[in-house]
Structure formats: structure tokens, C-alpha cells
Symmetry: C2
Subunit: 368 residues, 2 copies
């Protein structure tokens, strides 16, 4: 009996799974992490109004979700002062990135990103046979000028830029992003990942007309709105591009409870502001803890802080492993020179108390 | 300013959206349907234990979901007496169908289905540039022999067969499906859609060794388990095929609440049996209502009944529209000769009371 005949692309893809969550280690060791500071989740949780809305929505879960996410899209349109036709809702930014790559990239097409930026974007580019070109970070920032120069050089169809950046937490002023658009090659789309934008200083989001066909922006309810497990995010852009998603997406991919939760979360501006304040406090505390241990930490406009361990990637990896051994879930960048850092998500005071006690021990063990 | 450069496949795809839910009409008319009998939902809802589990899971929704759906997959493995490596969980059968087509189908590859079978499968085949070949139903049943003959003729990589069938509700004994495998061409995969299998008579699910590389089976929590809005389903098959999904899927596509709800629903066998009993009663009642109006209805092994309106597709469409005008949400098959029928999902007694009063009026209006 013969098996199925896979596509050429699929046969060439690695079988390894790049998505290893904290639950894997928790199952291996049989105990839960004491602090969950590795996935840039929002430990403060969503608005209590979103919790209530989701619990109520569970009662109607026998019904399919609205394939158009009508109510949420219209609320987002009001929120951003755009039309509902400028917005598509999907299964997290991860899901929307997959659809976007599928819309544009055929085998051999060029795509540009930064070396060390969001791996899931790279995963999708590989998954559709795209050719990925990477430019280095510059002073721990993604480098818009270098990205666009590379895009022109390789005739890229798509360029990825996160602002604020993950995993470093650095950011550019929106005016700089907007100005860079002048150098975007014809027929190249800028994918602007704004997953962390709510945490960033005013002016970080560039003012770009919503109908500008050169840009698509993605935002999520996983970070500032605190419902990562709901898997819901959205993309904004010109109507033609946004409607193209309808040609290929899983129209019934988004959970009904998620739709209700996102809508309620969006409408609780007070809670959002409290969350942003708490995250800023947590960022400061992480920086203080780092400094108390003689470590420099990078300024961050996100809900995490990259802490420079002061040596190379092997040393940072050792520190990371020592923290994990002490039941703190943290992660680190994958490539040099970013990988001299570990990335610590903002935690509640009690989470950061644990960090405060564990970090000196982890550093000592790593140095030993 | 130029827009993005889409792939050849995307440019050729229609811009029309084939997924129009009942909410669209509800928004147009400003009132809700009085009975929701069009999407083969489970109006009886999920197990109360699943409701509780989901409401509890909402409290942890700030955490990402487990990308491996570990607990659910292992419970399913026990339930089906297979290994967890034989199971992948995804964003509904719709989502899993999309991934499956992507794994196998390159532009120009042949795929076979029945003319009038599940449109979302066809949508995904078109979405990856596959060439779809259709064979007619035979006596209102999908025709396994004709499907496999056609598969051999066109060198198909993939054949779709739903058992029980949607939209007709008819079914084949599992032994017939199993015997048909002998005629499956080498290198052709049988996609067996068992979305409605829990409602079917014993013996409808074929006994096929789980490691048989010629078959993949898909099942869902949307129908018998009653959580359509959660968007969660699974595929079962040989480990190599199942693990291939990990090369391309959105690893964080499934909602955390959905994972908890599916697990609890799976474990409430009593509720499942009650649901199956209620659906059988509702099927009988729909058939009685049809008969009282002089209409024949097809035997069904699903949670809906195809009612033969006795004339052509235009007449059935007129009956359908008259029911919709009376605030009953129902649907109908899309192609002749199936489209002489309307498809009525099983409802609660009060839903079917509404059907009982509306159907004579709708028939009279359609005949006028």
C-alpha cells in the first residue's frame, strides 16, 4: 500500500516542529512553571467584562460563529476610524500571516525580514516555498532602511517589519516607518506587525492612510487585550487586499467565544489603560532586577524586556536554562548578536519576586 | 502607488464569498430567525459538563493554547484505541480540509468528489489550484465505485467521500467503504469525512487499520458534541500523514476554551447518547411533517433530513424562500437532481412546531 503523494514544497519542509510550548516541559517534569514569563502573554488577564462576555457566549456555542466577524469588525472600524471593509479578523496574527503569505508568495518568490525576527513569519514563507532574505538588526533595532534596500535588490514581494519589535522590544517612531515607505519598491507589500503597539509610546504607530495599497498592518487581542488563548487578531489595509483574504481563508476559523471576548475587551478602554500601566511598572521592575545583577536591559515598548546577559549566546542560554530549572518559563532570541539576551515577559509582582530571587542564582550557576 | 502582486492562483480565484451565514439575513431584516434549522447545528447544545469546562477555561484565556492539543489528543486516542500520533486537532473540519489539500495538491493536480457534495472541500481544492472532477450521486447516495473509477481515470491524488453524506443524509455501510479501498489507485488518498458519524447506525464507520496510509478520516465536535462555534475537529490516520500537518498548520490556531470544551464533551457519553436519541426523534418528526404535506423525505443518518419537494430545483428554491420568509433558517443542495430537496436540520420540538405550521403555507405559496 502506498501513501499519499505530497507536494514538492511539503516534501522539502523539515519535519521538526518549531512550536514548543511551556506545557511540554511541564508534562515532562510533572510540575507547572512557578512563573510564566516566556510567551509575552498578559498575566494580568483580560477585562472582567471580556471574561463575562465570553462566559455568556459559551451558552450559544452550539451555533457556528459569524464567518464575517461582523460586530467585531464594525467596532474595530469605529475604533480606528476606518471602514469595516478595511478589516479582516483571523485566527491570531499567526493565522493571518499564513493567509497573507499564501496570497502573495509562489515558490521562489522573494521575501525580506530581519535576522532574528518573528520565526512564525519565516515558517509560513518556507511553507509556501518563498525565498527568505534576512538583514541584520542594527543596534538591536530592526533596520527599515536595510530591509527596503534588500527588498529592492531581490525584487521582494513582501517585507516583514515588527514595530515594536519582538524579541528585542525596541521600536521606531512612526514617522520613520512612514518615511521609509518612499523607498518601498513597486509591487512590494510592507507587512507591519503591530502586535505590541498598545504598549508603545504615542507616535509609534505610523500615520498611513488606510487605503495605501503598499502596507498591511496586523494587530492582536493576545497581548494588551489579554486573550492569547482565544486566538483572534485582525489585519487592516486597502479593501482589495483585505477582501482577497476571503478568497482563501477558513471562513469559520475563529471561535465564537473569541469574537465575543475581543469585542468586549476592545470596549473596555479603562482596563486597557490599567494594563498598559501595569506592564510599564513590570518593565521597570525587570530592568531594576537586571541592574541589581549588573546586567543591562534594553528599553522596551512591549510587554517584555530583553536583558543583556553580557556575554555570548552560549552564556545567555546557560542563564536561561538555569532560570527554567528554577521553574521560571522564559525564552531568548535565536540568533547572534541578539542571543546575548534573554527575553523576560512582564509579570505580576509575585512573578517578578520569583525572578528577583532566581536571577542571581541562575547567573552564578551559569558562570560556574 | 502599486498594490501587492498576488499569486497566479489567487488572481484566478473568484472574489465572491461562498460562505453566507444566517446572520447576514438577520442583519438585513433586523430580526432573528425563529428557528435555526439550516446549518446542521446541534440545537440541543453540548453537555452541561462541557459548558462548565469552557466557562472555567475562560479564566485562563490569557495563556496561549497548547499547540499540540495534548490532553484532547490523548483522550481521543483512548476513545478510538489508537495512538496520539494518529491524531491532529484543528480549526474545524474546514480548517483541516484546507491543510490536507495544501499537503497534497499543486496546481493542476486532480481531485475527485461528488457533484453536490461539501462545497468547502471544493473551495479549498480551487484555492490551491487543484483540478476538481465530479461524479454524480447515484440514487441520492454518493457513489464510491464511481468516485474510484474516476480517480483512476484522472490519476487523482485525493478523493473526497462523506459518510454519512451531506447534504442528502444518506450513508453506506462501513463494509462497503472498506471494500472500495481495494479499488483506490496507488498514491491516491481517500478523505473520509465522518462529521455526522455519531448519528449513524452501528457499522457505518468502516473498520480500517489506523495506520493504513490510503485513508484519512475527519471528525468534529460541531455536530453530535454540539460546539460548532468552538471550531474544533480532528483528523485520524497514519502517523506520517498526521505529522505532515505539523509542517504547515497554524500551530496556535485552536482556541483554549474549545480544547477544554471538546475534552469534556468527549467524556460525557451519556449526554452524547441523549443527543443521538433526540436527533433521531427530530428526524422522525421532520419526516412525519413532510409526509403530512404529501412530501417524501430521505432516510438520514445525520442530524438533518433532505425533504424532496417533488418537483425541480426552482420549485424547491421557492419553497425554501417561503420558509425563510417565515423566519425559518433552512438550506438546500446546490445542484440537480439533489436540488429538488430542501435540507432541514433537526430542531427542538418547538422549532419543529414552527416548521409544521410554516411548511403547508410555504408549499401553497410556492405552488401559487
Amino acid at each position: 500500500m502506498t501513501g499519499p503523494r505530497y507536494t514538492d514544497i511539503v516534501r522539502a519542509l523539515p519535519a521538526s516542529v518549531p512550536f514548543v510550548g511551556p506545557e511540554v516541559r511541564e508534562r515532562e517534569t510533572g510540575k507547572a512553571f512557578a512563573a510564566r514569563l516566556g510567551a509575552n502573554e498578559n498575566v494580568f488577564g483580560p477585562s472582567p467584562k471580556a471574561i463575562s462576555a465570553m462566559q455568556e457566549a459559551v451558552g450559544d456555542i452550539w451555533k457556528y460563529s459569524d464567518a464575517t466577524s461582523h460586530d467585531l469588525r464594525h467596532a474595530l472600524a469605529v475604533h480606528h476610524n476606518v471602514d469595516a471593509e478595511n478589516i479582516v479578523v483571523g485566527e491570531g496574527i499567526d493565522g493571518l500571516l499564513g493567509y497573507l503569505v499564501r496570497l502573495l508568495i509562489e515558490p521562489g518568490d522573494s521575501v525580506v525580514t530581519s535576522d532574528g525576527a518573528y520565526p512564525t513569519f519565516n515558517y509560513h514563507v518556507a511553507g509556501f516555498g518563498g525565498e527568505l532574505h534576512k538583514v541584520p538588526y542594527k543596534d538591536d533595532h530592526e533596520d527599515p532602511a536595510a530591509l527596503l534596500t534588500k527588498a529592492k535588490e531581490v525584487g521582494a514581494k513582501l517585507v516583514y517589519l515588527a514595530n515594536p519589535d519582538n524579541p528585542m522590544g525596541t521600536w521606531h517612531d512612526g514617522s520613520k516607518i512612514r518615511a521609509a515607505l518612499d523607498d518601498l519598491p513597486h509591487g512590494c507589500l510592507l507587512m507591519l506587525d503591530e502586535a505590541y503597539i498598545e504598549f508603545a509610546p504615542d507616535g509609534t504607530a505610523p500615520e498611513i492612510p488606510i487605503d495605501d495599497p503598499r502596507v498591511i498592518r496586523m494587530r492582536t487581542f493576545s497581548k494588551a487585550y489579554g486573550i492569547a488563548g482565544a486566538r483572534i487578531a485582525y489585519a487592516m489595509g486597502a479593501p482589495d487586499l483585505i477582501q482577497s483574504f476571503d478568497k482563501i481563508r477558513n471562513h469559520f476559523g475563529v471561535n465564537r467565544v473569541a469574537q465575543a471576548g475581543a469585542l468586549a475587551a476592545l470596549q473596555d478602554e479603562d482596563w486597557l489603560q490599567q494594563t498598559i500601566h501595569r506592564m510599564a511598572e513590570a518593565r521597570d521592575r525587570i530592568a531594576q532586577i537586571a541592574a541589581a545583577n549588573g546586567l543591562h536591559s534594553l528599553p522596551s515598548a512591549a510587554n517584555f524586556v530583553a536583558v543583556d546577559c553580557g556575554r555570548d549566546g552560549d552564556f545567555a542560554r546557560a542563564v536561561l536554562n538555569e532560570l527554567i530549572a528554577r521553574d521560571l518559563f522564559v525564552r531568548m532570541p535565536g540568533v547572534a548578536p541578539l542571543n546575548r539576551c534573554i527575553r523576560i515577559s512582564c509579570g505580576r509582582p509575585q512573578d517578578l519576586d520569583l525572578l528577583e530571587s532566581a536571577l542571581p542564582q541562575a547567573l552564578a550557576a551559569a558562570r560556574a
